[in-house]
Subunit: 405 residues, 2 copies
C-alpha cells in the first residue's frame, strides 16, 4: 500500500496552517575550510529554530540517486517521484512558463543543422536566443493548427524550444508514446517519429507534418535548418493535493517551472515576479485564505550550480534575516528544507540527503545545535525518505486520525 | 518478499529465552520543564540497562501515522500491521474479553433511540452500564441461535455492546463484508445491512433478524429502543507465532484486549488479574515452560491518555523498581519498549517513534546515557520499522541462521 492510500482514510480537517519553505538546493558539502555552506553561513535565526525543532535529513529518491528538480519537488509535496515521473516535454514547457492541460502533448525541440541528409550539428551552433525567437515565431505563424491539434511554439534559450499540441478531447495515457527523432548523435540521418501505441498514431502524424513543414520554412537558414523533437509527453496524472491531503494550498514561487510543479498537483499558483522578501509579504497577505503554503527560494540553488560557495552562503544568510517575519505568523507547522542538495563543490544537484527542520508543539527538540547537514543528523527525524515529510506535517497539525483502534 | 517469508527458512531452535516487555504508550514529549516522562523519571535500573544495550526508536506504522493498540501490538509481535488489519468488531469483542474463533463473526453494537422511524440518539442517552447489562441479557435469552449461528451478546460500557456469531463451519474471508447499519449520524432513518459478497448473504440475513427481534424486545424502552450494528469482521488470518518464529510464547497481560491480540497469533494467554509485580512473579514461575514471554504493562499508557504527566512518570518508576527481578532471570534477550507513544501533552496515542532497548551479549552498547527518547536516538539501532524487532530478538538469541552462503 502506498503512503497516499494509507493516509487517505485518516485525514481530518481543522484550522491549522502548514508552511513549507523550500530552499532550493540548500544541502551542501565542505569547502577547503572544512565547513559546508550552511555551516559557513551566519544564520542565528535558523540555528535557534533548529534547536527547538525536529530535525533530520531526507532522501529524495534513494541513496546515491541525484534528483532533478521535478522529482525533488514531487517528493516534498508528498508524491512518490519514482511512480510519478514527469516527461521531458512537460518539464520543458513548464520551465518556459506555459500552462499545460491534461489534453496537451508537450515536446522538447532543438534547432539543428542538417547537410546532405546528415545531422552535422544537433544544436545549430547554439544560435543566439534572439534568432531562436524569430525562427520560432515564423514556425508558429505558419503552423497554428495541424489536423485536430492547435500548436503552441515557445522559444527557449539558444537552440532550444518547445511545442505544445493542444487536443480538443481527453487523451489516453499512451497517447504520447512516440520515439524521439533525435538520436543524440551527430553524423547520422535524422529519424522519423514512430508511434509505439495505437493511440499515439494521430500525434505521430502531426509530428511528421511539423518536421516536414519546418524543413520547408527553415531551408534557407545557414545553421538552424532542421528541428529535432523528443520527450513527447502528457501531464502525469497526480491526485490533486487537496484531494490527497485535504489541504487548500498556495504556491509562492517566482520561476515558472516551480509554479508548474505546484500546478501538476493543482495548488493555486499565481504568477509572481517577486524576491524573497516580497514572497514573504505575499504569504502574509494570503495567510487567511489557505491551509498550506509552499514558498520557493530559488537563488540558493543557482549559486550552488555556479560553484559560487560564498554566493550560496550569502543567499542562505539573506533568507535567515527574513525568517523572523515568517515566525511572526506562528504557523502550526513550519518546515524548512530543500528539494535536493546542490553542493557548490560539485556545481550540480547531488544525491546527498537534505537537511530539514520541522517546528510544531509536538517535537522533542534539543538535539541539534543548529541548522546544517552535520547537526541535522543528530535530530529526532533521522535519515528518512522525503515522501514522509507531508504525513509528518499533517500529523503535527492534528490532521491525521489514528490508524486502527 | 515480506519479513516473515525471509526469515522462515533461517529459523533454528535452541534453549534461549526471549523476554519482551511492552510498557504501553511509554514514549512521550517534553512538558514545560523541557523533559519527557522518561527523562523526568528516576529510573536508575532502566538507565543502567540502556547504557549496556542496543538502543533505538521504532516506527510502528510509518512516519506521522499514529497506531491504535491493535496495529501497535501486531508490529512488536513481528506482523505487518498494514497488511494485517484487525476489524472493529473483533477489537471490540477482544476488549470485552470474549474468546474469538476463526468460525466467528464479530459485531460492534450500540443501543440507540428511534422515534417515528428516525434515529434521534445514536447512544441512547448513554444509558447506565447496569441497564445495558439487563437489556443485553434480555436479548441473549431470546436469541441464543438464529439460523445456523449461535449468538453471544456481551455488554460493554454505557450504550455499547458486542455480538459474536458462532458458525459451525470455517468461514470464507469475505463472509463479514456487510455494510454498517449505523450511518454515524442522527436525524436519519436506520439502514438495513447489505451483503457486499455472496458469502456475506447468510450473515446479513441473521443480522436482519437480530435487528427485527431486538426492536420487538426493546419496544417499551424509553431510550434504548433500537440497536445499531457495525464493524462486521472475522479474525484476521495470522500465521501462528510458533509457526512464524519457532517460539513457544506466553502472554502475561491483565487486560482482555491485550490477551486478545496475543491470542490472534496463538500465544498462550492465561487469564490473569495481576499487577506488575505479580506479573513478574508469574513470569518467574513459567520461565522454564516457554521460549518467549510477552509481558504487558498497561497503566503507563492510561496515565498518558489522561494527560497525567506525573502519574505516567510514577508508573514508569514503579516498573523500574521491579526491573531487577526480571534481570535476575538473565534472559538471553531482553527487549523493553512500547507499542506506541502516548505523550501526556497530547492525551492520546501519537505517531512518535518509540524508545527501545535490546539487551543481549551481542550488542555494542555504550552509546546512550539512559533510557529516553533523546538518548535512544543516539543508539545503535537507529530509527527503524517496528517489524524488525522480532528478527533482531531471534538473531540475538542465536535463533537465525545465515542467509545465503
Amino acid at each position: 500500500m502506498n503512503m497516499q492510500e494509507l493516509i487517505k482514510p485518516l485525514i481530518q480537517k481543522n484550522n491549522t496552517k502548514i508552511v513549507l519553505i523550500v530552499l532550493d538546493g540548500v544541502g551542501g558539502l565542505p569547502n577547503a575550510s572544512g565547513k559546508t555552506e550552511l555551516e559557513s553561513a551566519n544564520i542565528p535565526n535558523l540555528n535557534a529554530l533548529a534547536r527547538g525543532s525536529a530535525c533530520g535529513l531526507h532522501v529524495p529518491i534513494a541513496y546515491g540517486i541525484t534528483p532533478g528538480s521535478g522529482p525533488g519537488h514531487l517528493g516534498v509535496f508528498g508524491y512518490d517521484p519514482i511512480e510519478n515521473q514527469i516527461g521531458r516535454g512537460i518539464l520543458e514547457v513548464l520551465g518556459l512558463g506555459l500552462e499545460v492541460k491534461r489534453t496537451d502533448v508537450a515536446v522538447r525541440c532543438n534547432y539543428a543543422t542538417i547537410k546532405g541528409g546528415i545531422i552535422i550539428d544537433r544544436r545549430a551552433g547554439r544560435i543566439p536566443t534572439e534568432q531562436n525567437k524569430i525562427l520560432t515565431d515564423r514556425l508558429q505563424k505558419e503552423m497554428r493548427r495541424i489536423d485536430e491539434a492547435e500548436l503552441i511554439f515557445a522559444p527557449g534559450m539558444e537552440h532550444r524550444f518547445a511545442v505544445l499540441m493542444k487536443f480538443p478531447k481527453p487523451l489516453e495515457p499512451d497517447t504520447a508514446m512516440i520515439t524521439d527523432t533525435d538520436l543524440q548523435k551527430e553524423g547520422v540521418t535524422p529519424i522519423y517519429p514512430a508511434p509505439l501505441s495505437k493511440n499515439a498514431e494521430k500525434v505521430s502524424k502531426i509530428v511528421e507534418k511539423v518536421i516536414n513543414k519546418s524543413q520547408e520554412l527553415l531551408k534557407n537558414e545557414e545553421k538552424a535548418n532542421y528541428i529535432l523533437m523528443r520527450g513527447f509527453s502528457i501531464m502525469p496524472h497526480l491526485t490533486p493535493f487537496q484531494e490527497a491531503f485535504g489541504l487548500n494550498a498556495l504556491a509562492i514561487a517566482a520561476y515558472p517551472m516551480y509554479r508548474g510543479f505546484a500546478r501538476l498537483v493543482e495548488m493555486d499558483t499565481p504568477s509572481l515576479k517577486k524576491d524573497v522578501k516580497e514572497k514573504i509579504e505575499f504569504l502574509k497577505q494570503k495567510y487567511n485564505d489557505y491551509d498550506f503554503f509552499f514558498l520557493h527560494v530559488k537563488k540558493i540553488d543557482s549559486y550552488g550550480e555556479d560553484g559560487n560557495f560564498e554566493g550560496k552562503v550569502a543567499r542562505i544568510e539573506e533568507f535567515d534575516k527574513l525568517l523572523p517575519e515568517i515566525l511572526k505568523l506562528k504557523p502550526d507547522v513550519l518546515i524548512i528544507t530543500g528539494d535536493h542538495s546542490t553542493p557548490s563543490l560539485m556545481r550540480s544537484h547531488s544525491w546527498h540527503p537534505v537537511p530539514v527542520l520541522l517546528k510544531s508543539p509536538y517535537v522533542l527538540g534539543g538535539l541539534c545545535n543548529g541548522f546544517s547537514e552535520r547537526e541535522c543528523i543528530k535530530g529526532e527525524l533521522g535519515i528518512f525518505p522525503t515522501i514522509n515529510l507531508i504525513p509528518l506535517a499533517l500529523a503535527n497539525a492534528g490532521r491525521l486520525k489514528k490508524f486502527g483502534a
